[in-house]
Amino acid sequence: MDFQTRSMRLNKIRRNATNYFVSSLSVLATIAVVIPLIAILFYLVYKGASSLNLAFFTKPPAPVGEPGGGMANAIVGSGIILMLASLMGIPIGIAAGVYLAEFGRGKPFATAVRFTADVLNGVPSIVMGISIYSLIVVRQKHFSALAGGVALAIMMIPTITRTTEEMLATVPHAIREAALGLGVPKWRTVVSVSLRTASPGIITGCMLAFARVAGETAPLLFTAFGNQFWSLKLTEPIAALPLQIYVYAISPYDEWHRLAWAGSLVLIAMIMVSVTLVRIFANRGVLKGGS
């Protein structure tokens, strides 16, 4: 064959070889990512399951060195802080999202708010923690569950704002126009028509934000501070599950290590349930085929 045909054949072989090589590289990369991840998950589940028992859910920590004891106060404390954070963060977040989607379309102010919310999402949680410390804890001269709730709330707000806005944007305009055309006032349209249509998506957005802050430790380090005893008061330091896991993990006691593993399994189980629910409900409820 002549030179041109030969060089074309070689070129083709080279290109095909590169194709196979890079494709196999990406498959290898995926395997290199997936396999350790599954290994981590399985190890966490195994270690956590072998450390979990009923006492974990019902008893507060035992004195150091004594067996038994659990993290009941941390689970309850986490629940209280998360409830506070949700009460403060979810309404403000949804309202901000409603503003962005319904009242602010096309306005530069709304673009600025959207951008700031995205940027705020990336601020380290420890910075939120120390700013709430300086804002609330220093003024009140004690750590409190309330401060922890506020710290988590300001972490939830940007996330919920963005997801609410995106969910509201999927509501077809025709529905809003139909309601407005029937004489429904604008605020009523937003509440009863847009929000109701987008509500499954908004709820999943709130669940995502909830799952995200449920695992946050850094903001609670200097606001809620942690507590070895039962405490349900909002103006006193309170235990939280991720906080206890951190304290126990870096401690030198085996019993506490066991509790840390069990706690992390509970945390992961909760988060996995939320993520799975989000995946299942993500596309339900929003009107399909709207114009």
């Binding site: 981590i40 309202a95 901000a96 601020v123 991720p242 945390l267």
Partner: protein, 342 residues
């Protein structure tokens, strides 16, 4: 009477007395206004929503203001030299944050070096090469990776990664790459390298899922055009997809960097907490975030606390800048900027 409007007054504009006024509003209108149909209800609702939207700005301003206010003693005492000096002596009140800046940069860059190739490979695989039934489970798995809290990663790292670094991995690295001088010194298991590895594991899903979003935003016409010209699969990916989404991928990588800069808990548990710039990758170090987490509750003097808060302020500003640039880049690609083929 005007020929056009039979009911219009004879004089135009009409004198006030001739215009029928709403002296007796209809009962229907009254009923509707009580139910919230009026201007007041709409405007007040819009105002409430606006106030809540402003809360986002308020949060940013509050954080900034409070941090600046409480780091004043340290700002006044050390000035700009705070970030160029290498001291950290709580006893004599001498503080300089250079070791932490080094620690943050070193761990983040090392983590990026490890995570970016893998993340891009996973993204390319999932968008272009993956058989359809496998796509959902693998992407779900990577999403799960992103959802695991950082303290759980830290727990795993302390009990699994650190012993691994001490035994199989550390000596292996010394044997194979010891000539570079990066692996000198004693290997405690905790240190820069371990922190970088756990950071890489944590930022991988972010970069990978964002890259996937960006790659799927490239219209299919680009891919078809390149294939029609006789490209192989990889050439199609390279020319049709990656070249068009370059900016977005850089943005995704910067978002991963932003996350790595601010990551606290997992890093605090495995970095060794030593305020010094070490020469080896095995040396214990400290990052901006981990020094705050580790020493905040033990800061006894005012100057100590305000030095730590100043570090928090620096971290805040740096992550805002990095995230802003990254978001701009990602926006540019996913907001319908026209894809260019060149």
């Amino acid at each position: 009477m005007s020929p056009i409007l039979p009911n219009a007054p004879a004089v135009f504009p009409p004198e006030p007395a001739l215009v029928p006024t709403d002296t007796a509003p209809s009962p229907i209108r009254e009923f509707l206004r009580k139910r919230g149909s009026g201007r007041l209800a709409d405007d007040s609702f819009a105002a409430v929503m606006l106030v809540c939207a402003c809360s986002i700005f308020a949060i940013v301003l509050f954080i900034f203001g409070v941090l600046v206010l409480h780091s004043r003693p340290s700002l006044v005492a050390f000035g700009w030299k705070f970030f160029t000096r290498s001291a950290w002596d709580p006893v004599s009140g001498d503080f300089g944050a250079l070791p932490f800046i080094f620690g943050t940069l070193a761990t983040s860059l090392l983590a990026l070096c490890m995570a970016v190739p893998l993340a891009l490979g996973v993204a390319v695989f999932l968008t272009e090469l993956c058989p359809r039934p496998l796509r959902a489970p693998i992407s779900f798995l990577t999403e799960l990776l992103a959802a695991i809290p950082s303290v759980v990663y830290g727990l795993w790292a302390v009990f699994v990664l650190v012993p691994l670094m001490r035994n199989p991995i550390g000596p292996f690295l010394v044997k194979s790459l010891g000539w570079t001088g990066l692996f000198s010194g004693p290997n405690f298991g905790v240190g820069l390298l371990t922190a970088s590895i756990i950071l890489a594991i944590m930022i991988l899903p972010i970069i990978s899922s964002l890259t996937r979003d960006i790659m799927t935003a490239v219209p299919n016409s680009q891919r078809e055009a390149v294939l029609a010209l006789g490209a192989t699969r990889w050439e199609m990916i390279r020319i049709g997809v990656l070249r068009n989404s370059r900016i977005g991928i850089v943005g995704a990588i910067m978002l991963g960097l932003g996350r790595a800069l601010g990551e606290t808990m997992a890093v605090t548990m495995v970095i060794g907490n030593h305020p010094d710039i070490g020469k080896s990758l095995f040396a214990p170090a400290n990052t901006l975030a981990s020094v705050i987490a580790g020493e905040f509750s033990e800061a006894t003097s005012d100057i100590y606390l305000s030095a730590l808060i100043e570090i928090g302020l620096a971290l805040f500003l740096v992550t805002i800048v990095v995230n802003a640039i990254a978001r701009l880049m990602v926006w540019a690609v996913t907001r319908g900027a026209p894809a260019r083929v060149h």
